[in-house]
């Protein structure tokens, strides 16, 4: 995948220009969730909201399914994806767990133990 291949650093997506182009509409959707009225509209009909922003079918499915890894793979910037996570009451540690195959509790414990050094 392009996001992984820019540098030879395993497990490290690089949010570059092509990734940003791919995720542009989806990141715009995430950015809109800063406003309560948009969160309400999104909550009322998530699919319609995705369509209004022009997401691809894959991005739409990723958003509706809360497939966080797919959102990153399909061009999401973590800072933008996080807007949706916050809306769902999810923390960055929860997302860290998703990306690394851990529960949120396990991820928090790994951070408190000094962080993850592997790579």
């Amino acid at each position: 995948m392009a996001a992984e291949s820019r540098f030879d650093v395993a497990g490290t997506p690089v949010f570059d220009g092509q990734t940003s182009r791919r995720g542009f509409r989806m990141n715009k959707l995430f950015m809109s969730l800063r406003f309560a009225e948009n969160r309400e509209r999104f909550g009322a009909d998530e699919g319609a909201y995705c369509d209004q922003f022009g997401l691809t079918p894959e991005q739409r499915t990723a958003v509706l399914d809360r497939d966080w890894q797919a959102m990153i793979d399909l061009g999401g910037s973590i800072f933008y994806v996080y807007k949706l996570a916050m809306m769902d009451g999810r923390s960055m540690q929860y997302l860290g767990g998703v990306f690394t195959g851990m529960t949120e509790e396990e991820f928090v414990a790994a951070m408190r133990a000094g962080g993850r050094s592997g790579g």
């Binding site: 490290t12 969730l33 960055m92 860290g96 962080g115 993850r116």
Partner: protein, 281 residues
């Protein structure tokens, strides 16, 4: 002639601000971080500048991906605190210094740094958390007017470390040529090592952070030679934001005196670092 009196490098992790806003600084998971800030805060309280410059990046709050300025400067007389989704931080809005901003802009453009101009800008945690690290209880207003200097660190290609260091050196000259006799504090924000996404999420590299903390004081040119790939490999995909420390350092004298430094893991997913330098050793 204006003079830089100090430089403060500090992480800008949102949870540091949230811990302060929610009165959790004595919580066992946070106490060591905030205890470590105390000597720096005490020294800063006795060395108040007339104006400060905060070098930071926005996180999808003040600007989006429609326009991605590599470097930008705020020229407004006021910057509101951004609502990042669930209410703004309970901290004062920021008073700017448009006269200084416009002087810096002209000087930097003359030196070949073509900054994007922000006449309107809401500032997010990347900006307000460093202000809180400096001044935990600002009351109704921050200690002085503040000028925002923005850096793109979230979309590749970020400016190189060398370019950031050179911008800092030009910033130092721009401050020195300012007609007003004012004292300036500079905050370089971000870092230290961390990575938020990917299978390597949670990555911390204490050894690299220790090296960076020492070299930012004594050998910044060594850090300016780091490539983006080296920074991402050694500090994580988000740790590359430490290039903003080099802008601060470049604006300071060749020799500085470290007042205090502190390192703490984890501030949520991040290694939190603070380093305070006196520019008049």
């Amino acid at each position: 002639m204006a003079e830089v009196i100090w430089g403060l490098a500090t992480s800008h992790v949102p949870s540091i601000g949230a811990a302060m806003d929610r009165g959790k600084t004595e919580d066992p998971n946070w106490k060591a971080l905030f205890d470590g800030y105390r000597p720096a805060r005490e020294w800063l309280a006795e060395h108040k500048p007339d104006v400060a410059i905060v070098i930071y990046n926005d996180h999808a709050n003040g600007i989006d991906l429609d326009i991605v300025p590599t470097f930008g400067i705020g020229t407004a007389d006021r910057y509101d605190v951004a609502d990042e989704g669930f209410g703004r931080r309970p901290v004062p809005d920021v008073i700017g210094d448009p006269e200084l901003s416009l002087h810096l802009l002209e000087s930097l453009v003359d030196e070949g740094f073509d900054l994007t101009v922000f006449q309107e800008l809401d500032v997010d945690h990347g900006f307000t958390v460093p202000l809180s690290v400096w001044t935990p209880d600002p009351g109704d207003s921050w200690p002085c007017p503040v000028v925002p200097l923005l850096v793109n660190v979230i979309q590749y290609p970020q400016p190189t470390a060398a370019r950031c260091y050179a911008l800092g050196q030009a910033l130092g000259r721009a401050i020195a040529s300012y007609g007003k006799d004012v004292k300036v504090g500079i905050l370089g924000t971000g870092g230290m090592s961390h990575q938020l996404a990917g299978a390597r999420a949670g990555f911390i590299n204490a050894e690299f952070d220790r090296m960076f903390m020492e070299a930012i004081e004594s050998d910044p040119a060594k850090l300016a030679a780091l490539s983006r790939e080296e920074l991402i490999r050694e500090a994580g995909s988000e740790g590359i934001e430490m290039i903003m420390w080099l802008i601060m350092r470049g604006a300071m004298n060749e020799r500085v005196r470290k007042v205090h430094s502190h390192y703490f893991v984890p501030a949520s997913n991040t290694a939190a670092g603070l380093a305070l330098f006196d520019n008049r050793p």
